[in-house]
């Protein structure tokens, strides 16, 4: 990845494309965790790619590429929420989009079961592998708040699956 970052900083579009392609899973998980909607997540990712291309030269240390890129993406997502430019309802989505909403269903359900403030922290910590200190910097909140949110988020998710499991048992009975 380091080599790709260096080449991308020198405005090599192929290297940049390869670099960002390698981050698509990460970006999608994060954007979806905030926006809960594939189409909005797609817009946020598109804009993030363009901003990263423009600003990559300003990144001082290559080793911080992932937190830097993730921070840009998070800002874009919150901008979209503030702009409130689109509220997409399932019955308004074209058929292909509805089909896509159905894919990754279990993962999306797990995300949707969490409050937003827990959702993002859990995804950044568990799925993206950031340390709590990195997350605290990205979200501009204290490290202790990150740790509290992790703890409460885990509990909320476990509670959801306990209830889900109980509902399953009731249906069997």
């Amino acid at each position: 990845m380091e080599n790709l970052i260096k080449r991308a900083k020198n405005k090599d579009p192929d290297a940049f494309t390869q670099l960002m392609q390698s981050q698509m899973q990460n970006m999608y998980r994060t954007a979806r965790a905030i926006l809960l909607n594939d189409e909005d997540a797609a817009d946020a990712i598109q804009e993030t790619i363009l901003v990263c291309w423009e600003k990559l030269k300003d990144l001082k240390e290559d080793k911080y590429f992932r937190p830097w890129m993730t921070r840009i993406l998070i800002n874009k997502c919150y901008e979209m929420i503030r702009e409130n430019t689109r509220i997409t309802y399932m019955d308004e989505l074209p058929e292909t989009a509805v089909e896509e909403e159905v894919s990754n269903l279990e993962w999306k359900e797990a995300l949707a079961a969490l409050d937003e403030k827990y959702r993002l922290v859990l995804v950044l910590f568990y799925a993206e592998g950031f340390h709590t200190k990195e997350i605290a910097k990205m979200l501009k909140i204290p490290n202790s708040t990150v740790r509290t949110r992790l703890s409460r988020g885990r509990e909320q998710l476990a509670q959801y699956y306990r209830e889900d499991s109980m509902a399953g048992k009731e249906q069997i009975i």
Binding site: K11, P13, D14, F16, T17, M20, Q21, M24, Q25, Y28, R29, E39, A41, A42, D43, I45, Q46, E47, I49, L50, W53, N75, E79, R82, E83, N84, T96, E100, S103, N104, E106, W107, A110, L111, D115, L122, V123, Y126, A127, G129, A136, K137, K140, P142, N143, S144, T145, R147, T148, L150, S151, R152, R154, Q156, L157, A158, Y160, Y161, D164, S165
Partner: protein, 375 residues
Amino acid sequence: MSKNSINILLQNIEIPDIVKEKAQNAFSQISMEGKEEHMEVIKYNKKRHPLKKTRAAAIVLAAIVGGGSITAVAAAYIHWSQGMQSKMNVSEEQMIALQNKEDTPLSFPEVADTQGEITVSVAQCLLDDNDIRVAFYVEGYELSNAESPQLENLNILLDGEPVNNYEWSFYTGVDGEEEGTIPNDQAEEERLELDLILSPVDENGKSITDLAGKVITVQMVNFGDTTGTWTLEWILEGTSTVVEKQLHEVLGNSGATVTKVSLSPISIKVCYDFAPAEISDIVLDENGNAVEVSDYAEPPQFVGVKMTDGTVYTAITDGGTYGYEDVEASLYVAEISLSRVLDPEKVQSLLFLKDELPATEQEITEDQCYIIELK
């Protein structure tokens, strides 16, 4: 077999086509630009490399509410910015009292920066030993219909060093107004308000205190489609009446003892004697292997105050820094920003939540709290 809930978050997911398509659009655009820029570079290489331009900071004095310097006036007071009034729940009586006190946390720095059509100025600043709140006015930023104001990034330095732990937002109206809309008077004046709250910590997460006298530099980068960097720099001024108490208040059976509190009009610092207790949990790492993660338990959190007239304010915290200042000495410190201006001398007692904050936004009541009397 029960599901491992964290494992679900880790599972490999399929990137939806809509995401792939939009990403591809961006890559195509970049590919075209990249080719053009490559040609540009070849052209430039034929010449001497131009000298790097330094931005000429256009610092101008902003007239604030009629201009002139601020003097203590018995009956009159300078109106606070709408956002600061709203976010700090300050009454007219408190505004007058704070302005006329000698040790006031309030200042009105006359600082502004103009780049192109947009001028950013400081409307007012509140300061104590741990916390800074600043309201900025943004003029000349034209918004089309239904567009919300955007600031791409904001960086802060204290005495030239970058600091963390801050939040900013455009003031978009008091409770009850439609979220995201600009209040009418802001729209009429063609002036927006941007509010900043900062509990500064250095790059190692250590709190920075004794803020008065330090030089603060605030850099704002790109308002919407208008690119540029607006830089405002001034010396922080202000002092606050602080009620400081050495205590030995045991918080029920939580294992925590509050040993000291310092209460200013805009923040509170609480020192606990709380032996570090590691709590562990089993989680899955990125490869799906079970790993043990350890963390420290937290003492009961400060959540509100009871005033001498019997009024109880809960949910008055607005972020801050928390953690062990000295693990070996069991010294845990919470420095918390308040979302309400308080008169520290009229605080009867402090409320600490017995259990963790409820996940729902339900109101906290006194019986959910440990209460420490200050009077």
